[in-house]
Symmetry: C2
Subunit: 180 residues, 2 copies
């Protein structure tokens, strides 16, 4: 998605910067949603910078990383695949849901990695800014829980002992299984 979408957002932000005047000050208080599915390494600093806002006193973040064990088995790496178009659409719904429930939310960044994610590296980074901290703290929980239960992203766990299997997101009620 989202190289294109991010470019569009950057254009919009530049436009806002160029408008000048009091109206622009209000305009700047509107929030942006920064969404990306990427095979590249995720950057926590990038996410922090994207949601940074001088009108906000709080940024809440969640970073999901590949851990080395799952139910007692040694994990070597994870691999993620997505239905990209549907995942984009569902991520936008996640943002709308967060903004409806916590109107104080200013900017939202959700970056999800696809492909191989070695142990210790991030598969998802969510950052949310708000003037006051309770909005962003609560919204970030909502976003990761809702992402896990609604966004069509599959995870393949590759174990040290005996190969691997694709599985649907365990928290996703409509998820499909996929065997390889």
């Amino acid at each position: 998605m989202s190289s294109a979408e991010e470019v569009e957002e950057e254009k919009n932000a530049k436009r806002r910067d160029e408008n000048g005047g009091a109206e622009q000050a209000m305009e700047e208080r509107k929030g942006s949603d920064w969404l990306k599915l990427t095979s590249e390494l995720l950057s926590v600093d990038d996410a922090t910078r994207l949601v940074g806002d001088e009108g906000c006193g709080a940024i809440a973040m969640f970073i999901g990383t590949t851990r080395d064990t799952f139910e007692g088995r040694r994990v070597i790496r994870l691999e993620y695949e997505a239905y990209e178009a549907m995942a984009q659409s569902e991520l936008r719904k996640v943002c709308r849901g967060a903004r409806e429930a916590w109107p104080g939310v200013r900017h939202i960044c959700i970056h999800h990695r696809l492909g191989i994610v070695p142990v210790g590296e991030a598969s998802v980074v969510i950052a949310i800014s708000s003037p006051h901290r309770q909005d962003s703290l609560q919204a970030v929980q909502y976003c990761i829980n809702t992402l896990k239960s609604t966004v069509p992203i599959w995870k393949k766990e590759v174990y040290e002992d005996d190969g691997a299997s694709w599985k649907e997101n365990q928290e996703c009620p409509w998820g499909h299984s996929k065997q390889t």
Copy 2:
């Protein structure tokens, strides 16, 4: 505090790395508390790195930043002062409280800046790792709320219009006022 404490923690971490064997693997699963009061710029990447752990699938973070307005007045910068010894002791209590309530918490990093913090920069960064996300997400809320209500750190708001005044942390029931 805490340059010294961080050096000590790094020594301990190195010692753990050097021990080798299965016992060390268990030892490594024990958590560290990384606490620092500093006049230097806070780094979100440093905090992320300090709590990173291959046995953890989740890092939750909170970043408190200086915002440009407070109750309709334009803020230029904040300045923070602490009773350092007492603040250290209270920060350690915050960590203990989080670990008691969420035993899944692995590592905790709380970095608080002192002195001048310009608009947009971070005054506090909290990062917490855990194998499963609910522990770190809930513990980070507990830590920032408890820090705000118990740790003796004063905030001076410097306004564009008419000077400045030191004030106790508004959420701190036993806080002292200080006029300058």
